[in-house]
Amino acid sequence: MKIHKYDTVIVGAGGAGMRAAIESTKRSRTAVLTKLYPTRSHTGAAQGGMAAALANVEEDNWEWHTFDTIKGGDYLVDQDAAEILAKEAIDAVLDLEKMGLPFGRTPAGEIDQRRFGGHSRNHGEAPVRRACYSGDRTGHMILQTLYQNCIKEGVEFFNEFYVLDQLLVEEDGVKKSAGVVAYELATGEIHVFQSKSVIYASGGTGKFFKVTSNAHTLTGDGQAACYRRGLPLEDMEFFQFHPTGIWRMGILLTEGARGEGGILRNKDGERFMEKYAPVMKDLASRDVVSRSIYTEIREGRGCGPEGDHVYLDLTHLPPEQLDAKLPDITEFARTYLGIEPYTDPIPIQPTAHYAMGGIPTNVQGEVLSDNTTVVPGLYAAGEVACVSVHGANRLGTNSLLDINVFGKRAGIAAAEYAHTADYIELPENPAAQVQAQVENLLSATGTERVAVIRKELQETMDANVMVFRTEQTIKTAVEKIGELRERYRNVSVQDKGKRFNTDLLEAIELGNLLDLAEVMAVSALARKESRGGHYREDYPNRDDVNFMRHTMAYREVADGGKDSIRLDYKPVVQTRYQPMERKY
């Protein structure tokens, strides 16, 4: 076991982690621990754009953007946070441009902007061009640009280091962060990083679904590390299903395709979104579009022999426009489906895409251990966190924005805290839990296979807690997950070595997915209403009286070691927007 000492440790090197690292490296001795090489992070998969009311191509302002974000999140958004997001968006985009990001340009040479779902002029009047983009690889360009600037700033990376435990020490009745414990993939060695502050920026948890746009590596490692140490997870029942994933594969096809004029059609060729969202049509918010697609499918208007998908039609757009604005997604259709989008519509279905919930933080990125208490030295930003700017449903282009705005804020706050704080003394045997976890898995001889349990988990999640949920389906999922968690105790790995043991890591990742899936299902069961991405057929309406509040899920451990989930609730911060019925 090696012990390292840094002012600030950042867990994860996607957009949020690297944006934080650029700030914190300037101000404090920083280490970035990432389970992948930084440029492999899934920020690079984001396509369509990053919202900011630059008003480069038409009238716009950040107040409209704030409103759209709150309405998009079905009023579960903390309005103070949404205001910060929309206001600081403008500088966030300009910062990136100055760092070198090659944005698309207007004829006048300014940053060009395109339409995107849920973004409107003047509180819902009509779609507005607010998304700044770089072709359909905006996330790729953000990831590259941030990595390039990390090189420029001399950020210190520990590549292929898996953080498996968060060290919390109680001092005077307050939980404080003492550092993290990590597993080095290349050698199997365990490292303790003692630090004054820790920032989680480790991304989402979408791999507990089968049809998902998420990478294989998005397994909720940061959420699980904090949750197991008794910290709450907020709003985990809210998961976004992106309307346009490639049929059966789930690969993302950007909403920018509809922003450029693409149309969703059912088997009769009908532009069905006109029925569900007369004003915004194909550009309604994602939860609305995904539900509409499934309604079409359920009512027998789906395409294909099994009627299990609909079409994204780009055939009326000029090929030059597709080549210039949507080169990557048109290539995905060619590569993976053998379809030519110039002439044929693309079969799509909703795909699990984004966790709105996560580790609760305030607007400085400080992690909360309950509704109000800050954990000194602990921060989170990006998809792993819940500020909450996305509420019950995130608007497209607001996640690339979120990682930049709150990544920067967390980076500054964590580094400044490190200047004022002392190291917290490490607990005795700081690596004990991780050592035990690794040794147990390596020596286990059980008969269960990781891949089998993971597949069953993904199937139950797709079947029971996806776009449509009922008490019964959620209960089925809760039971199944319970059974899988039991079976997981009997899991073994084949690779017993120390070198690049990805077999072992997949087993650990599965443990994280199982815990988080359970939190998601249990939180969803208790929310007896429909709001944003959480739709209960048995409670189809939003219930502001009983459920205008954030879910806070805690892990409780009984004396015998058996764990359970305790739910609590946290009020939503409202500033100036009163909840209204949501229409698009």
């Binding site: 492999r40 992070s41 998969a45 698309g104 040479g109 993976y336 044929d344 891949a451 690049f500």
Partner: protein
């Protein structure tokens, strides 16, 4: 406007990405295994698997890892060609395993899979990427400007933006560099990927360090080592015209115009 209907799609014969409705075939993956914890020797190992030919080589590797041999080791993340994790030599050519469909590489014969060349193999298909990223860092891959920052964005015409569009697509997968015979013989050569990324900044109208970058590439291990074999362009999964970018850098070195 063409209004697509069910009929049209069906008769267009667009191949369905089906799993249930398509026949599984048996293929052999012949994989170059290496694990110094067990042996200093690398060996070939055959795996037979039943798979839908429309699936990716990566799906086949997962099938092996998840069902047959958990110790098979490779990097991967996104599974759709945008993260750059899984460049490998498939039937002797550098490709991304997640962007190569089994049906496109003649599955009637054993499919050979080995680590990319020119970088030290650490285990099975995993190589040491450090020298590759070092060459990337050496070309100063970040925007360098002089003078005060403007308050708004720097202006750039769509034409100027287009000038370096191709080379911004790079995902640092190393398929190009590890297909280059010059790099195989001499790991000191910067390699095509580093040059591609230098090109991305040299031809960016906002950048003011083109001269500096060109001097770096003028080095004995720089662009002049390139023998224009086009392996890199063939290998690039992002369709970047790598050789053309290198030629443009060479030309800029001669004319000092860019």
């Amino acid at each position: 406007m063409a209004t697509p209907t069910l009929d049209k799609a069906d008769t267009a014969g667009a191949p369905e990405p089906g799993f249930a409705d398509s026949p599984y075939i048996t293929v052999t993956f012949r994989i170059r295994r290496f694990n110094p914890e067990i042996s200093e020797e690398a060996t070939w190992e055959d795996f037979q698997l039943e798979i839908d030919p429309k699936e990716r080589v990566l799906d086949g590797l997962h099938k092996i890892k998840w069902e047959l041999d958990g110790s098979l080791t490779f990097r991967r993340s996104c599974a759709h060609g945008i993260c750059g994790s899984d460049a490998m030599r498939i039937n002797g050519k550098n490709r991304l395993a997640c962007k190569t469909l089994i049906k496109d590489i003649n599955p009637s014969k054993p499919i050979t899979i080995e680590a990319i060349k020119g970088l030290t193999v650490q285990k099975d298909l995993v190589v040491d990427m450090e020298p590759f990223f070092q060459a990337y860092r050496d070309v100063m891959p970040f925007l360098i400007t002089k003078g005060n920052e403007p308050t708004r964005e720097r202006l750039q015409s769509p034409e100027d933006r287009e000038r370096f569009d191709d080379t911004t697509k790079c995902i640092l997968c190393a398929a190009c560099t590890s297909s280059c015979p010059v790099f195989w013989n001499d790991g000191q050569y910067f390699g095509p990927a580093a040059i591609v990324n230098a090109h991305r900044f040299i031809f960016d109208s906002r950048d003011e360090a083109g001269e500096q970058r060109l001097e770096i590439l003028n080095d004995k291990d720089g662009v002049w080592r390139c023998r224009t074999t086009f392996n890199c362009t063939d290998a690039c999964p992002r369709g970047i015209e790598v050789t053309k970018a290198i030629q443009e850098v060479k030309r800029a070195l001669i004319t000092r115009r860019f």
